[in-house]
């Protein structure tokens, strides 16, 4: 219907040369180009950070909200208009730090949202503090003696919280990442793709080469096997698996809300008309 170039915009990109975000952006545009979607049918929500600038670089609808608050507007928007394909895209600090509570509870809701987290294991935009996924020992201006908090494993957490689609990608494996993105976009329900993304300016530990050396594409893994997924999600270190860890759909949030069912209205909520006068009978119960 519309190839990758439909989704290109003519804006100056504010990322550092060499940043892993470029590959993710390009891959997103390619993935969208391969799906049967037009720009106006897509809504991309983000928070604040380097990754979160992405709605400015893709030609789709965008809601570039507050730091840590990328998910809630997306859930609201899905309820308001189920004909929108909703993507949430943000950084690891945004998603797992400031936004941790929404991450937990959005998984519990299971809205039909594809969630792409640019995980550079650092706070990029604010110049290099540790993020929840920073490796222990990493030194920064704030963590002067190295990170002491134990790292946050987004995949394990998502699995534990009952997410139906859990995957990991790497910005250095674009073709593979594109497949992940497409699968997430096509998955009915909440789908997490945590994307390893080198930050050339601030993460001197987890560099492109560091990732490149370690990531390997999952093979012969049955994504309906929760135990195996859990086990694989725990792997981090010399070998880091990427791919779809788990994929088993369950009823979505939208499909379980009375007001959003077909019976209740043909159109998305946003387009339903209403007539206040027709509701005067609401008063009866108070008479």
């Amino acid at each position: 219907m519309c190839n990758a170039s439909c989704f290109a915009v003519d804006e100056e990109i504010a990322w550092c040369p060499g940043c892993g975000n470029f590959a993710i952006l390009e891959t997103l545009q390619n993935a969208l180009g391969e799906l049967e979607l037009l720009p106006h049918q897509i809504l991309l929500c983000s928070g604040i950070g380097q990754a979160a600038k992405i709605p400015h670089y893709v030609r789709v609808n965008g809601f570039n909200g507050l730091h840590g608050r990328a998910l809630p507007p997306a859930v609201g928007a899905r309820a308001a208009n189920t004909s929108l394909k909703v993507i949430v895209q943000s950084g690891d600090g945004d998603t797992y730090g400031e936004g941790g509570n929404h991450f937990l509870h959005t998984i519990r809701r299971n809205p039909d949202i594809a969630h792409f987290v640019h995980n550079n294991q650092v706070y990029g935009l604010t110049k290099g503090q540790a993020s929840p996924t920073s490796d222990p020992g990493m030194k920064t201006k704030v963590q002067t003696a190295g990170v002491i908090l134990s790292p946050f494993n987004p995949l394990s957490l998502a699995l534990t919280m009952g997410a139906g689609f859990v995957a990991r990608g790497f910005s250095g494996e674009k073709e593979h990442l594109k497949q992940l993105m497409k699968a997430a976009l096509e998955f009915p329900g909440y789908a997490l793709v945590d994307i390893l993304q080198p930050c050339v300016s601030f993460n001197k530990v987890n560099t492109f080469a560091w990732y490149k050396q370690r990531v390997h594409i999952l093979e012969e893994h049955d994504p309906s096997d929760r135990e195996a997924a859990n086990h694989l999600a725990g792997q981090w270190g010399e070998r880091i698996p990427i791919g779809i860890f788990y994929q088993v759909p369950s009823p979505t949030f939208e499909s379980r809300i009375p007001a959003l069912q077909e019976e209740s209205g043909q159109e998305p909520l946003a387009y339903r008309s209403f007539d206040p006068a027709a509701l005067a009978h609401l008063q009866e119960e108070f008479k």
């Binding site: 609808n61 909200g65 507007p73 928007a77 308001a80 609401l282 108070f286």
Partner: protein
């Protein structure tokens, strides 16, 4: 010519059931009623009470004295006996406690015993209703109808309740019947018996609000409950994990095109403050009902205060237009919340609607609302008025840019941005665009100002004694003015509903000419008085402030007023 009933007992004893039944029965019988609630932050035990005032016309607020005290426990008697008059009567269960010897006003009714006779202890409340009715010289017809309705689908319960009602009626008649004389009943048409939260929920639904996300918080939970019970009307009600999520969900839903709101109290609103600023920057319409209760922090969770006016006026970092309206009385609130949605949509701003526990939990007999008066214009882009390429934040003379929805127009995308942005919504950092965007947003204030309603002037039109108030104190202040005018004073009340942008015309005209002015507020610092001074340079002479978590009574205000005039 009125009767004041106070029903008190422990949380969980069913005070609410008694007043609900009594109130509705009296309305159906053609009387005006007014009800308020005083309850503790607990589920069982402690002391809760409700005051029901019954008169020919709908009373405006509760009264201090008590004619009939329904004492479901001993504490109720001890706490409230000072409000009793010589002729008052105390309904109580002699099996639970006894009154002091010298107490002559007791009307012992073995509530529990009679209830059990009727079929179960739970019906003690129905027994009490019967007892009250006979004291007022009423028959039980209306109450019986109500019980039939209420228990229609609970097998056997209708009969048992009717029994209980009659038993209470008969037993109390032994003490006195019709010892209080009710005035000629006056209400001709049907009335509603509805409380503040229910009015707001109904108004929201009728105004087209189809998405509410909130986190439970007294005293606003009732709004969420109301809407949750109306999901068949196509409204989505989502309990959020926290208030931050609530407001952000609401903004997402609103951005995507649905009239949306959230409701909370001061502490929950505190968590929404960043979201308010986001609404300001992204120009996303949102209505936020803030039900005030005494702070700071957790404060008194189930009581009332008007302590958050200045807070909501300035909540959110940075500068952006907003509107602040308040719930004055039930009728007003129905239309004013609709106005909140209208302003939010028209100006694409956050609108804060201030209520308080006193408003939220008080009920009165009100005239049915005129649903046709509700304005549901959405001010959205249509094919005809869309300029392509679409730009979400196009500069305009009045500051309002045409709002299109994401997905609405094939070929066009909509970009909302929390950073400073250009017309398209893309991040910018240059000084010129920044300046123009600030000015664009703030220009809306002009239009907004023109939408503000001047405060109501009630009483003498050229007063020399002026009470000034806002929000839920209206009823009480109105009664106070009536009393003052009975005493032949040139007294008036100037009462604000719309608070921001503050409509200053009337007050600027009146205040300099008035001999003595009082700002009456349910807070400790006089926040409206400060606002008035900031906006007009004028100062009120005296402040009458109450900050103990309880609503005003007219006599309290009169007492203060009399110190100065």
């Amino acid at each position: 010519m009125e009767i004041n009933i106070l029903i008190g007992g422990e949380a969980g004893q069913g005070v609410e059931t008694v007043v609900a039944l009594l109130g509705k029965a009296m309305i159906r019988s053609g009387y005006g009623v007014c009800l308020d609630k005083d309850y503790m932050s607990r589920v069982r035990g402690g002391h809760n009470f409700s005051r029901l005032r019954i008169a020919a016309e709908t009373p405006w607020c509760a009264a201090g004295k008590v004619d009939i005290l329904v004492s479901l426990d001993q504490e109720t008697y001890l706490l409230h006996r000072d409000k009793l008059q010589g002729k008052s009567r105390i309904i109580y269960d002699p099996d639970m406690f006894s009154l002091p010897r010298e107490e002559q006003r007791g009307a012992a009714v073995p509530l529990l015993h009679l209830a059990k006779e009727a079929g179960g202890a739970v019906m003690a409340n129905t027994v009490a209703v019967g007892a009250v009715l006979v004291l007022m010289g009423m028959d039980t017809a209306a109450a019986e109808d109500l019980l039939r309705q209420m228990f229609a689908h609970k097998e056997g319960m209708v009969e048992k309740n009717l029994q209980a009602l009659k038993k209470g009626y008969k037993e109390a008649a032994l003490h006195c019947s019709a010892c209080f004389s009710l005035p000629e009943k006056k209400l001709k048409e049907e009335r509603l018996f509805i409380d503040g939260n229910q009015v707001l929920g109904m108004s929201a639904l009728a105004s087209g609000c189809r998405f509410l996300s909130a986190y439970p918080m007294t005293p606003s939970t009732g709004i969420m409950n109301y809407l949750a019970g109306k999901q068949e009307y196509g409204v989505v009600v989502e309990q959020a994990e926290d208030e931050i999520s609530a407001i952000n969900m609401v903004l997402g839903a609103s951005f995507a095109g649905v009239r949306s709101m959230t409701c909370t109290s001061g502490g929950g609103f505190a968590l929404m403050v960043e979201g308010v600023s986001l609404a300001g920057m992204t120009e996303t319409p949102v209505v936020i009902v803030v039900g005030m209760r005494p702070g700071p922090a957790t404060g008194l969770p189930t009581r009332t205060e008007q302590g958050d006016l200045e807070f909501v006026l300035h909540a959110g970092h940075g500068e952006f237009p907003r509107a602040v309206l308040s719930a004055v009385h039930l009728e007003d609130a129905f239309y004013r919340l609709n106005k909140a949605f209208y302003l939010a949509d028209k100006y694409q701003i956050p609108v804060i609607f201030l209520t308080d526990q006193n408003f939220a939990d008080s009920a009165r007999s009100v005239t049915p609302f005129d649903f046709q008066r509700l304005n549901c214009e959405r001010f959205l882009a249509e094919e005809e008025n869309l300029v392509r390429p679409y730009r979400r934040y196009r500069y305009t003379e009045n500051g309002i840019s045409l709002r299109a929805l994401p997905g609405q127009f094939p070929g066009e995308v909509v970009l909302a941005d929390s950073d400073e942005h250009n017309e398209k919504g893309n991040i910018i950092e240059d000084a010129l665009t920044r300046r123009r965007m600030v000015e664009k947003r703030l220009r809306k204030q002009e239009g907004l100002f023109s939408e503000m309603e001047e405060p109501v002037l009630y009483g003498h039109q050229e007063p020399d004694l002026l009470l000034i108030g806002w929000g839920s104190t209206f009823g009480c202040l109105r009664e106070t003015v009536d009393i003052l005018r009975d005493g032949d004073r040139r007294a008036a009340l100037l009462h604000f509903s719309d608070l921001w942008p503050l409509p200053v015309k009337t007050v600027s005209r009146l205040l300099p000419g008035v001999k003595t002015s009082f700002c009456v507020e349910n807070n400790a610092t006089g926040q409206l008085a400060s606002l008035l001074r900031r906006e007009t340079g004028l100062e009120v002479d005296h402040k009458i402030l109450k900050y103990d978590g309880r609503p005003f009574l007219p006599e309290e205000i009169l007492q203060e007023v009399k110190k100065y005039v």
